[in-house]
């Protein structure tokens, strides 16, 4: 699959939640688009990542 434009091998069947935790993303500060669709936070646990998926993960930093 592709994550933020970088190709990444998907070794085992894994949920989006598991992937984000593995990559140490802070789930309270991100937004995730999968194949052009925003993934609601409530769906992270049920979303199985698949070969060929395009993920775009945005991490926000503070200040405004």
């Amino acid at each position: 699959m592709t994550v933020n434009g970088v190709s990444m091998p998907l070794k085992t069947a894994i949920t989006l939640s598991e992937f984000l935790n593995e990559e140490q993303y802070d789930l309270t500060k991100i937004a995730v688009e999968r194949n052009g669709q925003i993934v609601p936070k409530a769906d992270y646990d049920q979303t199985m990542l698949a070969d060929g998926d395009h993920l775009e993960i945005v991490s926000f930093v503070g200040g405004g």
Partner: protein
Amino acid sequence: MAVSFFYQGNPCRTEGTLATLPHPAKGYFIANGFTAPPDRPIQEGDQIWFIPEGQLPSAAAYAQILSARYTPSVYEKLKQAKVAIAGLGGLGSHIALFLARVGVGELLLVDFDSVDFTNLGRQNYTLADLGRPKTMATADHLSAVNPILQVKTAQVKVTAENAPSLFQSYPIVCEAFDQPENKAAFVNALLANTTCTLITGSGMAGTGSANDIHTRRAMGRLYICGDETTDVQEGTSLFASRVAVCAGHQAHMALRLILGDTSP
């Protein structure tokens, strides 16, 4: 020779210079959208206004000033445009001001907070605003620079629950919150539940190069402005100049989207 023209919106026919038109002692002439000297001869078809000193132009005069500068087709797009601004701190107070100056037709201003002295270092408020809701203070500043702007305000704390109903009728929404968790919750709520296009600010603290602030289209309906790395923390605070650079990026992306250009 007598020519036909408009003065203060009324059809007239006479000959002479602008100075020969009846007007108060102090002020200035606008001819076809541009400031003109009193000795300028009146020409056929001129649209002439006199703006008395200390007064804002009438709505019709202001529309002509913008239309003459931008071309009527660009002005028409701006006039029809509606942009919402979520948060009126260092980013939002300036985004609002930039879009008001540009001539966007309608702005929605959303913030729950009131102005306090610590805001003056980087937010578009003055001593006279202290204690006032930021929505009201910003609305007044905008009205003072753009007499035809439609300003709507909502003095509420934005949550993931109320965000869709507050913002869904605005095609372009500028996110200008402080906390990363609020930014993320807002972006998730609007992308999942509305058709809004979002322009967010992420990473504008510190004194790093202003050139590191960029605009990027991160998702189909999400643009990110900022350096995307510099968080606010001890030793890295927010500075007016760098925050305003980011606000400028956000306002400018909103302008580009209004004019139909989706590239960052």
